[in-house]
Amino acid sequence: MVHLQKMHDRYAARGLFVYAIAMHDDDEAARRLNREMGITYPVFQGKGSKLGDRFAYG
């Protein structure tokens, strides 16, 4: 996540869109972690979504 944040910081202005799809059970814990790690790229809420159910893996 930290490395992707660096990619976001460096390349967003050049057209690279970095994002995450959160699959965490605890939304508040995920938000807290995002804040603590300084994540500013968009994080979609994917838990319970068809997209997450279909493609999240591992």
Binding site: A29, P42, Q45, A56, Y57
Partner: protein, 261 residues
């Protein structure tokens, strides 16, 4: 157009596939794609392969080693030549891995009398996380923290579990976990015990693996942080991110991943 073509590569991150995508497919691999392919070095289909030897230490510093030549496991309690060796290559903070540990613990406890050995080897997370994993889930089978090793890099993709026969070859592998898997492991163990030939890779059950050239549906989900609607989609043939205020931002490419934190 509601689909996003993946044109570069898929990498595997803690518990998640990473997707790099754009609107077009290049004629030949990009330097980044070629580099990713070279760096991967992973075992494409482990069933039938010989699990590489390893020599790690348990979390309390005792040897945990597998000799693929002699099919001997050196673990706390002494060296054994198990009829079946279960190796879970995992990350301590992965939800599926945690659930799987409960079943592996049952396999460890009940399978010992049938010459079944179980070990866990981390490919992500540090020793402290592994210790917490052991404490939290009551794991008593040996665990080694191998994050960052070549072995873990080669065998750890997808948090797999391998069942290794007494000839050192992998007879069964799976990625991901469901509670019914324990029944499958027992069935495989019975087949191995009875001398039946086993070579079985668990079919994909949840989470379709995407690969180069696949298309990913447009992402239209709430923002985790604000709850506002976000989207990544192709508008008029161009990839665009739509923010929480409904503004569209064109992007040349995207990198995303499913995160379990």
């Amino acid at each position: 157009m509601k689909w996003i073509r993946i044109f570069t590569f898929i990498a595997w991150t803690p518990g998640a596939a990473m997707l790099a995508s754009g609107c077009a497919q290049p004629d030949r691999p990009s330097p980044g794609q070629a580099r990713a392919q070279r760096a991967a070095g992973e075992v494409a289909d482990p069933v039938g392969a010989t699990l590489d030897s390893f020599a790690f230490s348990t979390l309390d510093g005792r040897p945990l080693a597998w000799d693929a030549t002699t099919q001997t496991l050196d673990a706390p309690g002494g060296g054994v030549k198990p009829r079946l060796l279960a190796v879970h290559v995992f990350q301590p903070d992965c939800n599926a891995c945690q659930e799987q540990a409960r079943s592996l613990q049952r396999l460890h406890v009940k399978g010992a009398a049938d010459s079944i050995a179980v070990v866990g080897i981390t490919h992500r997370g540090d020793a402290a996380a592994a210790r917490e994993f052991v404490r939290k889930f009551g794991v008593t089978y040996p665990i080694a923290a191998a994050t960052g090793t070549d072995w873990a890099g080669r065998w750890g993709r997808g948090d797999p579990m391998f069942l290794v026969g007494n000839d050192g070859k992998i007879v069964y592998s799976q990625e991901g976990y469901q509670p019914t898997d324990l029944d499958i492991w027992w069935a495989v163990a019975a087949d191995v015990r009875d001398g039946r030939v086993v070579a079985f890779r668990h079919p994909q059950r949840s989470g379709e693996k995407l690969t180069t050239g696949d298309v990913l549906p447009a992402i239209e989900l709430p923002d985790l942080m604000t709850g506002r609607a976000l989207a990544l989609r192709v508008d008029d043939g161009k990839l665009a991110f739509v923010d929480g205020d409904g503004r569209s931002h064109p992007c040349r490419a995207s990198i995303g991943f499913f995160s379990r934190y």
